[in-house]
Protein backbone atom coordinates (compact mmCIF):
# COMPACT_ATOMS: atom_id res chain seq x y z
CA UNK A 1 0.00 0.00 0.00
CA UNK A 2 1.31 3.41 -0.89
CA UNK A 3 0.37 6.22 1.44
CA UNK A 4 -0.15 9.28 -0.70
CA UNK A 5 -0.61 12.85 0.33
CA UNK A 6 -2.77 13.85 -2.63
CA UNK A 7 -6.24 14.70 -1.35
CA UNK A 8 -9.25 13.24 -3.15
CA UNK A 9 -12.60 14.85 -3.91
CA UNK A 10 -15.06 14.99 -1.05
CA UNK A 11 -12.53 15.41 1.77
CA UNK A 12 -13.38 19.10 2.11
CA UNK A 13 -16.54 20.95 1.10
CA UNK A 14 -16.93 23.29 -1.88
CA UNK A 15 -16.42 26.68 -0.10
CA UNK A 16 -13.14 25.43 1.42
CA UNK A 17 -12.00 23.93 -1.90
CA UNK A 18 -12.84 27.20 -3.66
CA UNK A 19 -11.04 29.35 -1.06
CA UNK A 20 -7.86 27.30 -1.39
CA UNK A 21 -8.14 27.29 -5.18
CA UNK A 22 -7.98 31.09 -4.99
CA UNK A 23 -4.95 30.83 -2.68
CA UNK A 24 -3.31 28.44 -5.16
CA UNK A 25 -3.94 30.73 -8.15
CA UNK A 26 -2.48 33.75 -6.35
CA UNK A 27 0.54 31.72 -5.22
CA UNK A 28 1.06 30.38 -8.74
CA UNK A 29 0.91 33.93 -10.15
CA UNK A 30 3.69 35.02 -7.79
CA UNK A 31 5.74 31.91 -8.55
CA UNK A 32 5.50 32.49 -12.33
CA UNK A 33 6.74 36.08 -12.01
CA UNK A 34 9.60 35.28 -9.65
CA UNK A 35 10.65 32.07 -11.45
CA UNK A 36 11.04 34.08 -14.66
CA UNK A 37 13.40 36.41 -12.81
CA UNK A 38 15.42 33.44 -11.50
CA UNK A 39 15.84 31.70 -14.84
CA UNK A 40 15.28 34.46 -17.50
CA UNK A 41 14.88 33.02 -21.02
CA UNK A 42 15.99 29.60 -19.85
CA UNK A 43 12.84 29.38 -17.69
CA UNK A 44 10.75 27.10 -19.88
CA UNK A 45 13.31 24.42 -20.77
CA UNK A 46 14.98 24.33 -17.34
CA UNK A 47 11.76 24.35 -15.35
CA UNK A 48 10.30 21.80 -17.77
CA UNK A 49 13.15 19.38 -17.22
CA UNK A 50 13.17 19.92 -13.43
CA UNK A 51 9.41 19.29 -13.46
CA UNK A 52 9.94 16.05 -15.38
CA UNK A 53 12.56 15.15 -12.76
CA UNK A 54 10.09 15.79 -9.91
CA UNK A 55 7.53 13.66 -11.72
CA UNK A 56 10.01 10.78 -12.06
CA UNK A 57 11.13 11.15 -8.44
CA UNK A 58 7.55 10.94 -7.17
CA UNK A 59 7.38 7.45 -8.63
CA UNK A 60 10.03 6.27 -6.17
CA UNK A 61 8.46 4.50 -3.22
CA UNK A 62 10.18 3.89 0.06
CA UNK A 63 9.08 1.70 2.99
CA UNK A 64 7.77 3.48 6.09
CA UNK A 65 6.04 0.67 8.00
CA UNK A 66 5.71 -3.02 7.18
CA UNK A 67 3.20 -3.14 4.35
CA UNK A 68 3.05 0.61 3.88
CA UNK A 69 5.25 2.78 1.75
CA UNK A 70 5.36 6.47 1.01
CA UNK A 71 6.47 8.22 -2.12
CA UNK A 72 8.84 11.13 -2.28
CA UNK A 73 7.14 14.53 -2.49
CA UNK A 74 10.28 16.42 -3.40
CA UNK A 75 9.17 19.82 -2.05
CA UNK A 76 12.23 20.58 0.08
CA UNK A 77 14.44 18.88 -2.51
CA UNK A 78 13.47 21.26 -5.33
CA UNK A 79 13.43 24.25 -2.96
CA UNK A 80 17.08 23.57 -2.04
CA UNK A 81 18.19 22.67 -5.57
CA UNK A 82 16.39 25.27 -7.72
CA UNK A 83 14.93 27.76 -5.24
CA UNK A 84 11.41 28.18 -3.87
CA UNK A 85 9.82 29.98 -6.86
CA UNK A 86 10.90 27.59 -9.61
CA UNK A 87 10.36 24.76 -7.11
CA UNK A 88 6.77 25.60 -6.29
CA UNK A 89 6.05 26.17 -10.00
CA UNK A 90 7.41 22.70 -10.77
CA UNK A 91 5.42 20.98 -8.00
CA UNK A 92 2.25 22.86 -9.07
CA UNK A 93 2.60 21.69 -12.67
CA UNK A 94 3.24 18.13 -11.51
CA UNK A 95 0.04 18.26 -9.43
CA UNK A 96 -2.03 19.72 -12.28
CA UNK A 97 -0.77 17.10 -14.75
CA UNK A 98 -1.34 14.31 -12.22
CA UNK A 99 -4.91 15.48 -11.61
CA UNK A 100 -5.79 15.95 -15.31
CA UNK A 101 -3.93 13.07 -16.96
CA UNK A 102 -3.43 10.48 -14.22
CA UNK A 103 -6.55 10.87 -12.04
CA UNK A 104 -4.13 11.35 -9.13
CA UNK A 105 -5.73 13.73 -6.61
CA UNK A 106 -9.24 15.11 -7.00
CA UNK A 107 -10.12 17.93 -9.41
CA UNK A 108 -11.87 19.96 -6.69
CA UNK A 109 -8.98 19.16 -4.33
CA UNK A 110 -6.42 20.64 -6.72
CA UNK A 111 -6.43 23.98 -4.89
CA UNK A 112 -5.85 22.38 -1.49
CA UNK A 113 -3.22 20.02 -2.91
CA UNK A 114 -1.32 22.90 -4.54
CA UNK A 115 -1.57 24.96 -1.34
CA UNK A 116 -0.30 22.09 0.83
CA UNK A 117 2.51 20.72 -1.28
CA UNK A 118 3.57 23.45 -3.71
CA UNK A 119 3.13 26.51 -1.46
CA UNK A 120 3.15 25.53 2.24
CA UNK A 121 5.47 22.54 1.73
CA UNK A 122 8.04 24.12 -0.57
CA UNK A 123 8.23 27.44 1.30
CA UNK A 124 8.40 25.82 4.74
CA UNK A 125 11.20 23.60 3.50
CA UNK A 126 12.99 26.59 2.01
CA UNK A 127 12.53 28.73 5.14
CA UNK A 128 14.07 25.98 7.29
CA UNK A 129 16.92 25.57 4.81
CA UNK A 130 17.61 29.32 4.75
CA UNK A 131 17.52 29.48 8.54
CA UNK A 132 20.16 26.73 8.62
CA UNK A 133 22.17 28.10 5.66
CA UNK A 134 25.17 28.99 7.85
CA UNK A 135 25.41 25.38 8.95
CA UNK A 136 24.88 24.12 5.40
CA UNK A 137 27.76 26.25 4.06
CA UNK A 138 30.16 25.14 6.80
CA UNK A 139 30.48 21.44 6.03
CA UNK A 140 29.06 18.54 4.08
CA UNK A 141 27.53 17.15 7.28
CA UNK A 142 25.86 20.51 7.89
CA UNK A 143 24.39 20.48 4.39
CA UNK A 144 23.04 16.97 4.86
CA UNK A 145 21.53 17.88 8.24
CA UNK A 146 19.94 21.00 6.73
CA UNK A 147 18.40 19.03 3.87
CA UNK A 148 17.12 16.35 6.25
CA UNK A 149 15.50 18.81 8.66
CA UNK A 150 14.02 20.91 5.82
CA UNK A 151 12.43 17.86 4.18
CA UNK A 152 11.14 16.49 7.48
CA UNK A 153 9.57 19.82 8.53
CA UNK A 154 8.20 20.33 5.00
CA UNK A 155 6.38 16.98 5.10
CA UNK A 156 4.94 17.42 8.60
CA UNK A 157 3.87 21.05 8.06
CA UNK A 158 2.21 20.16 4.73
CA UNK A 159 0.19 17.51 6.56
CA UNK A 160 -0.69 20.14 9.21
CA UNK A 161 -2.07 22.29 6.39
CA UNK A 162 -4.33 19.38 5.53
CA UNK A 163 -5.52 19.20 9.16
CA UNK A 164 -6.31 22.94 9.03
CA UNK A 165 -8.31 22.47 5.81
CA UNK A 166 -10.13 19.52 7.33
CA UNK A 167 -10.96 21.61 10.41
CA UNK A 168 -12.29 24.41 8.18
CA UNK A 169 -14.45 22.36 5.88
CA UNK A 170 -13.85 18.66 6.37
CA UNK A 171 -16.46 16.03 5.70
CA UNK A 172 -16.67 15.51 9.46
CA UNK A 173 -17.21 12.34 11.39
CA UNK A 174 -13.91 12.27 13.21
CA UNK A 175 -12.65 14.22 16.18
CA UNK A 176 -10.09 16.73 15.00
CA UNK A 177 -7.61 15.38 17.52
CA UNK A 178 -7.76 11.96 15.86
CA UNK A 179 -7.21 13.40 12.39
CA UNK A 180 -4.35 15.48 13.75
CA UNK A 181 -2.65 12.53 15.46
CA UNK A 182 -3.15 10.24 12.46
CA UNK A 183 -1.91 12.67 9.81
CA UNK A 184 1.00 14.09 11.76
CA UNK A 185 2.07 10.66 13.00
CA UNK A 186 1.95 9.16 9.52
CA UNK A 187 3.75 12.10 7.95
CA UNK A 188 6.42 12.15 10.63
CA UNK A 189 7.28 8.63 9.43
CA UNK A 190 7.07 9.66 5.76
CA UNK A 191 9.14 12.71 6.66
CA UNK A 192 11.98 10.50 7.94
CA UNK A 193 12.17 8.77 4.55
CA UNK A 194 11.74 12.04 2.70
CA UNK A 195 14.49 13.60 4.85
CA UNK A 196 16.97 10.76 4.33
CA UNK A 197 16.50 10.66 0.54
CA UNK A 198 16.54 14.47 0.27
CA UNK A 199 19.75 14.69 2.31
CA UNK A 200 21.52 11.99 0.29
CA UNK A 201 20.31 13.50 -3.00
CA UNK A 202 21.40 17.04 -2.13
CA UNK A 203 24.73 15.61 -0.91
CA UNK A 204 25.22 13.77 -4.21
CA UNK A 205 24.48 16.91 -6.26
CA UNK A 206 26.64 19.14 -4.04
CA UNK A 207 29.67 16.86 -4.39
CA UNK A 208 29.55 16.98 -8.21
CA UNK A 209 28.02 20.37 -9.12
CA UNK A 210 27.84 22.55 -5.98
CA UNK A 211 27.15 25.51 -8.27
CA UNK A 212 23.76 24.01 -9.07
CA UNK A 213 22.57 23.93 -5.45
CA UNK A 214 20.45 27.07 -5.13
CA UNK A 215 20.81 27.18 -1.34
CA UNK A 216 24.61 27.32 -1.53
CA UNK A 217 24.71 30.16 -4.05
CA UNK A 218 26.26 33.31 -2.65
CA UNK A 219 23.69 35.79 -1.45
CA UNK A 220 23.80 39.31 -2.86
CA UNK A 221 25.44 40.71 0.29
CA UNK A 222 28.21 38.11 0.13
CA UNK A 223 28.80 38.90 -3.55
CA UNK A 224 29.07 42.63 -2.88
CA UNK A 225 31.62 42.18 -0.12
CA UNK A 226 33.86 40.14 -2.40
CA UNK A 227 33.48 42.28 -5.47
CA UNK A 228 34.35 45.94 -4.89
CA UNK A 229 33.03 47.17 -8.26
Amino acid sequence: MVVAMHMSDGLVNIPTALAFAVVAVIGLGFAVTRARRDLDDRTAPMAGLVTAFVFAVQMINFPILPGASGHLLGGALVAILVGPWVGSLCITIVLVVQALLFADGGLTALGTNITNMALVGVFTGYAVAVAMRGLARRSRGGLLATAFVAAFVNTVVASLAFVVEYALGGSGGAALGTVFALMVGLHALIGLGEGLITAATVGAVASVRPDLVHLLRPTRAALDSRDPS
Binding site: G10, R36, A47, G48, V97, L100, S171, G173, A174, V205
Partner: protein, 254 residues
Protein backbone atom coordinates in the same frame (compact mmCIF):
# COMPACT_ATOMS: atom_id res chain seq x y z
CA UNK B 1 10.62 7.06 -26.16
CA UNK B 2 9.68 9.52 -28.85
CA UNK B 3 6.71 7.52 -30.00
CA UNK B 4 3.35 9.13 -29.66
CA UNK B 5 3.66 10.60 -26.19
CA UNK B 6 0.57 8.72 -25.13
CA UNK B 7 -0.16 8.64 -21.43
CA UNK B 8 -1.08 5.36 -19.75
CA UNK B 9 -4.68 6.30 -18.99
CA UNK B 10 -5.52 7.28 -22.56
CA UNK B 11 -7.88 5.06 -24.53
CA UNK B 12 -7.58 6.09 -28.18
CA UNK B 13 -10.86 6.50 -30.00
CA UNK B 14 -12.86 8.65 -32.39
CA UNK B 15 -16.12 8.97 -30.46
CA UNK B 16 -17.89 12.33 -30.10
CA UNK B 17 -16.47 12.55 -26.56
CA UNK B 18 -12.94 12.03 -27.88
CA UNK B 19 -13.43 14.70 -30.56
CA UNK B 20 -14.82 17.27 -28.12
CA UNK B 21 -12.33 20.14 -27.61
CA UNK B 22 -10.22 19.54 -24.51
CA UNK B 23 -11.06 22.83 -22.79
CA UNK B 24 -14.77 21.92 -22.88
CA UNK B 25 -13.99 18.54 -21.32
CA UNK B 26 -11.78 20.06 -18.60
CA UNK B 27 -14.45 22.59 -17.62
CA UNK B 28 -17.20 19.95 -17.76
CA UNK B 29 -15.20 17.50 -15.60
CA UNK B 30 -14.38 20.14 -12.97
CA UNK B 31 -17.99 21.40 -12.80
CA UNK B 32 -19.36 17.85 -12.61
CA UNK B 33 -17.09 17.03 -9.66
CA UNK B 34 -18.16 20.31 -8.02
CA UNK B 35 -21.79 19.12 -8.35
CA UNK B 36 -20.87 15.74 -6.82
CA UNK B 37 -19.06 17.34 -3.86
CA UNK B 38 -21.88 19.88 -3.32
CA UNK B 39 -24.52 17.12 -3.05
CA UNK B 40 -25.51 16.44 0.58
CA UNK B 41 -24.13 13.12 1.77
CA UNK B 42 -27.51 11.86 3.00
CA UNK B 43 -29.00 12.00 -0.53
CA UNK B 44 -27.96 8.39 -1.17
CA UNK B 45 -29.90 7.68 -4.42
CA UNK B 46 -28.57 10.85 -6.08
CA UNK B 47 -25.04 9.41 -6.13
CA UNK B 48 -26.41 6.47 -8.11
CA UNK B 49 -27.73 9.08 -10.56
CA UNK B 50 -24.23 10.52 -10.93
CA UNK B 51 -22.90 7.02 -11.65
CA UNK B 52 -25.58 6.55 -14.34
CA UNK B 53 -24.63 9.93 -15.82
CA UNK B 54 -20.97 8.87 -16.03
CA UNK B 55 -22.09 5.53 -17.46
CA UNK B 56 -23.92 7.36 -20.23
CA UNK B 57 -20.72 9.30 -21.04
CA UNK B 58 -18.75 6.01 -21.14
CA UNK B 59 -21.28 4.54 -23.58
CA UNK B 60 -20.98 7.65 -25.78
CA UNK B 61 -17.17 7.46 -25.57
CA UNK B 62 -17.03 3.69 -26.11
CA UNK B 63 -15.13 3.05 -22.86
CA UNK B 64 -15.77 -0.42 -21.41
CA UNK B 65 -16.82 -0.10 -17.72
CA UNK B 66 -14.29 -2.82 -16.81
CA UNK B 67 -11.48 -0.69 -18.26
CA UNK B 68 -12.47 2.20 -15.98
CA UNK B 69 -13.04 -0.04 -12.95
CA UNK B 70 -9.55 -1.58 -13.16
CA UNK B 71 -7.98 1.87 -13.19
CA UNK B 72 -10.17 3.24 -10.42
CA UNK B 73 -8.06 1.36 -7.86
CA UNK B 74 -5.73 4.39 -8.11
CA UNK B 75 -8.04 5.78 -5.49
CA UNK B 76 -7.32 3.18 -2.80
CA UNK B 77 -4.51 5.02 -1.00
CA UNK B 78 -6.64 8.14 -0.68
CA UNK B 79 -9.35 6.48 1.34
CA UNK B 80 -7.18 5.40 4.29
CA UNK B 81 -8.76 8.14 6.37
CA UNK B 82 -12.25 7.01 5.39
CA UNK B 83 -11.64 3.47 6.63
CA UNK B 84 -10.61 4.74 10.05
CA UNK B 85 -13.47 7.20 10.56
CA UNK B 86 -16.20 4.72 11.69
CA UNK B 87 -13.88 3.37 14.40
CA UNK B 88 -12.66 6.71 15.70
CA UNK B 89 -15.75 8.92 15.31
CA UNK B 90 -17.97 10.32 18.03
CA UNK B 91 -21.23 9.03 19.53
CA UNK B 92 -23.97 8.05 18.73
CA UNK B 93 -22.75 4.61 17.83
CA UNK B 94 -24.31 1.60 16.16
CA UNK B 95 -23.33 -2.02 16.80
CA UNK B 96 -22.89 -4.00 13.61
CA UNK B 97 -21.71 -7.64 13.67
CA UNK B 98 -20.46 -7.08 17.19
CA UNK B 99 -18.35 -4.06 16.20
CA UNK B 100 -19.19 -0.66 17.66
CA UNK B 101 -19.18 1.93 14.88
CA UNK B 102 -19.68 5.67 15.14
CA UNK B 103 -22.67 6.98 13.18
CA UNK B 104 -21.16 10.35 12.22
CA UNK B 105 -17.97 8.43 11.44
CA UNK B 106 -19.84 6.11 9.08
CA UNK B 107 -21.50 9.07 7.36
CA UNK B 108 -18.14 10.84 7.03
CA UNK B 109 -16.55 7.71 5.59
CA UNK B 110 -19.42 7.26 3.11
CA UNK B 111 -19.05 10.91 2.12
CA UNK B 112 -15.32 10.59 1.36
CA UNK B 113 -15.69 7.21 -0.33
CA UNK B 114 -18.57 8.05 -2.65
CA UNK B 115 -17.38 11.53 -3.61
CA UNK B 116 -13.77 10.40 -3.95
CA UNK B 117 -14.82 7.48 -6.17
CA UNK B 118 -17.07 9.59 -8.40
CA UNK B 119 -14.24 12.16 -8.62
CA UNK B 120 -11.71 9.52 -9.72
CA UNK B 121 -14.19 8.10 -12.25
CA UNK B 122 -14.71 11.59 -13.71
CA UNK B 123 -10.95 12.26 -13.88
CA UNK B 124 -10.43 8.87 -15.53
CA UNK B 125 -13.08 9.67 -18.14
CA UNK B 126 -11.32 12.95 -18.93
CA UNK B 127 -7.90 11.25 -19.11
CA UNK B 128 -9.21 8.33 -21.20
CA UNK B 129 -10.70 10.55 -23.91
CA UNK B 130 -8.08 13.34 -24.06
CA UNK B 131 -4.58 12.92 -25.50
CA UNK B 132 -1.78 14.84 -23.81
CA UNK B 133 -1.31 17.35 -26.62
CA UNK B 134 -5.01 18.21 -26.73
CA UNK B 135 -5.04 18.72 -22.98
CA UNK B 136 -2.20 21.25 -23.25
CA UNK B 137 -4.03 23.09 -26.04
CA UNK B 138 -7.12 23.06 -23.84
CA UNK B 139 -5.17 24.59 -20.94
CA UNK B 140 -3.83 27.29 -23.25
CA UNK B 141 -7.31 28.11 -24.55
CA UNK B 142 -8.55 28.34 -20.97
CA UNK B 143 -6.00 31.16 -20.55
CA UNK B 144 -3.59 29.35 -18.26
CA UNK B 145 -0.38 31.44 -18.08
CA UNK B 146 1.65 30.86 -21.27
CA UNK B 147 4.76 30.10 -19.23
CA UNK B 148 2.93 27.39 -17.29
CA UNK B 149 1.63 25.75 -20.48
CA UNK B 150 5.10 25.91 -22.06
CA UNK B 151 6.74 24.34 -18.99
CA UNK B 152 4.04 21.66 -18.90
CA UNK B 153 4.58 20.97 -22.63
CA UNK B 154 8.33 20.53 -22.19
CA UNK B 155 7.80 18.49 -19.04
CA UNK B 156 5.47 16.08 -20.84
CA UNK B 157 7.85 15.92 -23.83
CA UNK B 158 10.73 14.84 -21.59
CA UNK B 159 9.00 12.97 -18.77
CA UNK B 160 9.24 9.64 -20.61
CA UNK B 161 12.96 10.23 -21.18
CA UNK B 162 13.60 11.01 -17.51
CA UNK B 163 11.40 8.18 -16.22
CA UNK B 164 13.14 5.74 -18.58
CA UNK B 165 16.49 7.03 -17.34
CA UNK B 166 15.37 6.42 -13.72
CA UNK B 167 14.24 2.94 -14.77
CA UNK B 168 17.65 2.16 -16.33
CA UNK B 169 19.39 3.33 -13.16
CA UNK B 170 17.13 1.07 -11.10
CA UNK B 171 17.89 -1.93 -13.32
CA UNK B 172 21.59 -1.13 -13.04
CA UNK B 173 21.36 -1.04 -9.22
CA UNK B 174 19.36 -4.27 -9.01
CA UNK B 175 21.70 -6.09 -11.39
CA UNK B 176 24.53 -5.16 -9.04
CA UNK B 177 22.78 -6.77 -6.09
CA UNK B 178 20.85 -3.79 -4.69
CA UNK B 179 17.77 -4.96 -2.80
CA UNK B 180 16.54 -2.23 -0.47
CA UNK B 181 14.07 -3.36 2.16
CA UNK B 182 14.65 -0.93 4.98
CA UNK B 183 14.81 2.80 5.17
CA UNK B 184 18.52 2.89 6.02
CA UNK B 185 19.32 1.14 2.75
CA UNK B 186 18.14 4.01 0.57
CA UNK B 187 21.64 5.46 0.10
CA UNK B 188 22.18 4.07 -3.39
CA UNK B 189 18.67 5.05 -4.47
CA UNK B 190 19.21 8.59 -3.22
CA UNK B 191 22.57 8.93 -4.97
CA UNK B 192 20.74 7.75 -8.07
CA UNK B 193 18.17 10.52 -7.55
CA UNK B 194 21.03 13.02 -7.26
CA UNK B 195 22.54 11.76 -10.51
CA UNK B 196 19.10 11.91 -12.12
CA UNK B 197 18.73 15.56 -11.10
CA UNK B 198 22.13 16.42 -12.60
CA UNK B 199 21.31 14.61 -15.83
CA UNK B 200 17.88 16.30 -16.02
CA UNK B 201 19.33 19.74 -15.32
CA UNK B 202 22.19 19.34 -17.78
CA UNK B 203 19.77 17.96 -20.36
CA UNK B 204 17.71 21.10 -19.75
CA UNK B 205 20.76 23.24 -20.54
CA UNK B 206 21.36 21.29 -23.76
CA UNK B 207 17.68 21.48 -24.71
CA UNK B 208 17.74 25.23 -24.14
CA UNK B 209 20.77 25.66 -26.43
CA UNK B 210 19.16 23.42 -29.05
CA UNK B 211 15.97 25.47 -28.87
CA UNK B 212 17.92 28.74 -29.18
CA UNK B 213 19.70 27.46 -32.29
CA UNK B 214 16.28 26.71 -33.78
CA UNK B 215 15.00 30.21 -33.16
CA UNK B 216 13.49 29.99 -29.66
CA UNK B 217 12.17 33.38 -28.63
CA UNK B 218 10.79 32.41 -25.24
CA UNK B 219 7.31 31.67 -26.55
CA UNK B 220 5.78 28.55 -28.04
CA UNK B 221 4.37 29.14 -31.51
CA UNK B 222 0.60 28.72 -31.59
CA UNK B 223 0.10 25.57 -33.64
CA UNK B 224 -3.63 25.08 -33.48
CA UNK B 225 -5.53 28.34 -33.61
CA UNK B 226 -8.98 26.74 -34.05
CA UNK B 227 -11.91 28.19 -32.15
CA UNK B 228 -14.42 26.24 -30.13
CA UNK B 229 -17.99 26.94 -31.20
CA UNK B 230 -20.87 27.72 -28.87
CA UNK B 231 -22.58 24.53 -30.04
CA UNK B 232 -19.61 22.45 -28.87
CA UNK B 233 -19.71 24.15 -25.47
CA UNK B 234 -23.44 23.50 -25.28
CA UNK B 235 -23.11 19.78 -26.06
CA UNK B 236 -20.02 19.35 -23.89
CA UNK B 237 -21.60 20.99 -20.88
CA UNK B 238 -24.87 19.04 -21.13
CA UNK B 239 -23.68 16.42 -18.58
CA UNK B 240 -23.03 19.32 -16.19
CA UNK B 241 -26.66 20.43 -16.55
CA UNK B 242 -27.71 16.93 -15.55
CA UNK B 243 -25.22 17.10 -12.66
CA UNK B 244 -26.68 20.39 -11.43
CA UNK B 245 -30.17 18.87 -11.63
CA UNK B 246 -28.96 15.89 -9.55
CA UNK B 247 -27.32 18.11 -6.95
CA UNK B 248 -30.49 20.23 -6.64
CA UNK B 249 -32.54 17.02 -6.29
CA UNK B 250 -30.19 16.03 -3.48
CA UNK B 251 -30.78 19.32 -1.68
CA UNK B 252 -34.54 19.06 -2.10
CA UNK B 253 -34.59 15.43 -0.83
CA UNK B 254 -32.73 16.17 2.40
Amino acid sequence: MGAGHAHPLHLPGTSPVHRMPAEVKIVAAVLLVVCVVATPREAFPVFGGFLLLLGAVWVAAGIPPGWIARRAVIELPFVVLAVLLPFTGEAPTVVWLGVTLSEPGLLGAWNILVKGTLGVLTSLTLAATTPMRELLHGMARLHAPTLVVTIATLMLRYVDVIVAEAGRMRVARISRGHDPRFLWQVGATARGVGALFLRSYERGERVHLAMLSRGWTGRMPQLQPGRTSAAQWLVGLSPVAAGVALAVTGWVLT
